[in-house]
């Protein structure tokens, strides 16, 4: 059976790319809001679009936070055990199938 190197990375590592996405989201939001506040026509439509956008954002962010806070972020993200237990059973891979470097008749030497 293929053995994976023993690297241990906490699950919280995944929050870095997610944080980058949220930063991009905030950046685009600020640009949009700046344009709206600076160049739109004065009227209730502009305020309504602010409320709608912030309402939606708040809903999605609070929903995401509520779901993400349930997890244990100290769990190792990459180690051989996690890959064996989580990824490969899910995709139904049999790693023995790919272990063709050694002929079947040849005994395994440690």
């Amino acid at each position: 059976m293929t053995e994976f190197p023993s690297i241990s990375l906490p699950l919280a590592f995944l929050l870095i790319p997610y944080g980058f996405f949220l930063f991009g989201y905030a950046f685009y939001t600020l640009f949009n809001l700046y344009h709206l506040s600076r160049y739109s026509l004065y009227g209730i439509g502009t305020y309504f679009s602010y409320v709608l956008f912030f309402g939606g954002t708040l809903l999605f962010l609070s929903g995401s936070a509520a779901l993400l806070l349930r997890y244990d972020w100290t769990v190792p993200l990459i180690d051989s055990e996690t890959i064996q237990e989580e990824v490969f059973p899910f995709f139904h891979f049999d790693l023995k199938f790919y272990d063709t470097a050694r002929p079947a008749s040849q005994p395994k030497t440690e």
């Binding site: 026509l41 997890y71 899910f90």
Partner: protein, 180 residues
């Protein structure tokens, strides 16, 4: 914000006669695409609910899936809002003195221009295509004496009526100039 009673460089007797935006079809299209993208998400969640429940229970794939769903939902929301801002900030204002055009082109480009009614030589309305004919919206082209300046009101409702109103305003403005 731009106030219609306090336009930039407003003249003493200047009054706003027309405020135009693109036809309601444009925000409807945005709404449709955003709705479609959320419908795909909802269909996926409902259709694969048992598998998703198992997946969300896993210690590593669960957070990964949740973050994926979160990125998708927020991304669609931001896309919809950006498209809406692009539509909402395109506005054409016609006063009894001049025409102002404010156009948002993407997130980082904005074009604001104006022309005086006395320089207008030709106003053309154009309704092209089946949907535009049925819903009566299209473009209005304003050509000035200087060939380089050509204003286009894109996808405005009732372009023929808009053209007539602008032509009437141009005539009214010329009469005023003659009287002076």
């Amino acid at each position: 914000m731009i106030r219609l009673d306090q336009l930039p460089n407003q003249r003493p007797n200047e009054k706003v006669r027309l405020v135009l935006r693109r036809c309601w079809v444009t925000p409807f299209e945005i709404l449709f695409y955003v709705g479609l993208l959320y419908a795909v998400l909802a269909a996926g969640v409902i259709g694969f609910f048992p598998q998703l429940t198992v997946l969300l229970g896993r210690p590593v794939l669960g957070p990964l899936t949740t973050m994926g769903l979160s990125v998708y939902a927020l991304g669609v929301w931001l896309f919809g809002f950006t498209e809406f801002v692009d539509y909402y900030l395109d506005v054409w204002i016609v006063t009894n003195e001049r025409v102002l055009s404010v156009e948002q082109k993407g997130l980082f480009t904005r074009v604001a221009s104006e022309l005086h009614l006395s320089t207008v030589q030709d106003v053309t309305s154009e309704v092209k295509g089946m949907l535009r004919t049925v819903l009566n919206y299209g473009d209005v082209h304003i050509q000035t004496a200087a060939e380089r300046i050509r204003f286009i009101f894109k996808g405005v409702p009732h372009p023929e009526r808009v053209r007539e109103q602008i032509v009437a305003l141009v005539e009214e403005n010329r009469q005023k100039q003659v009287e002076k």
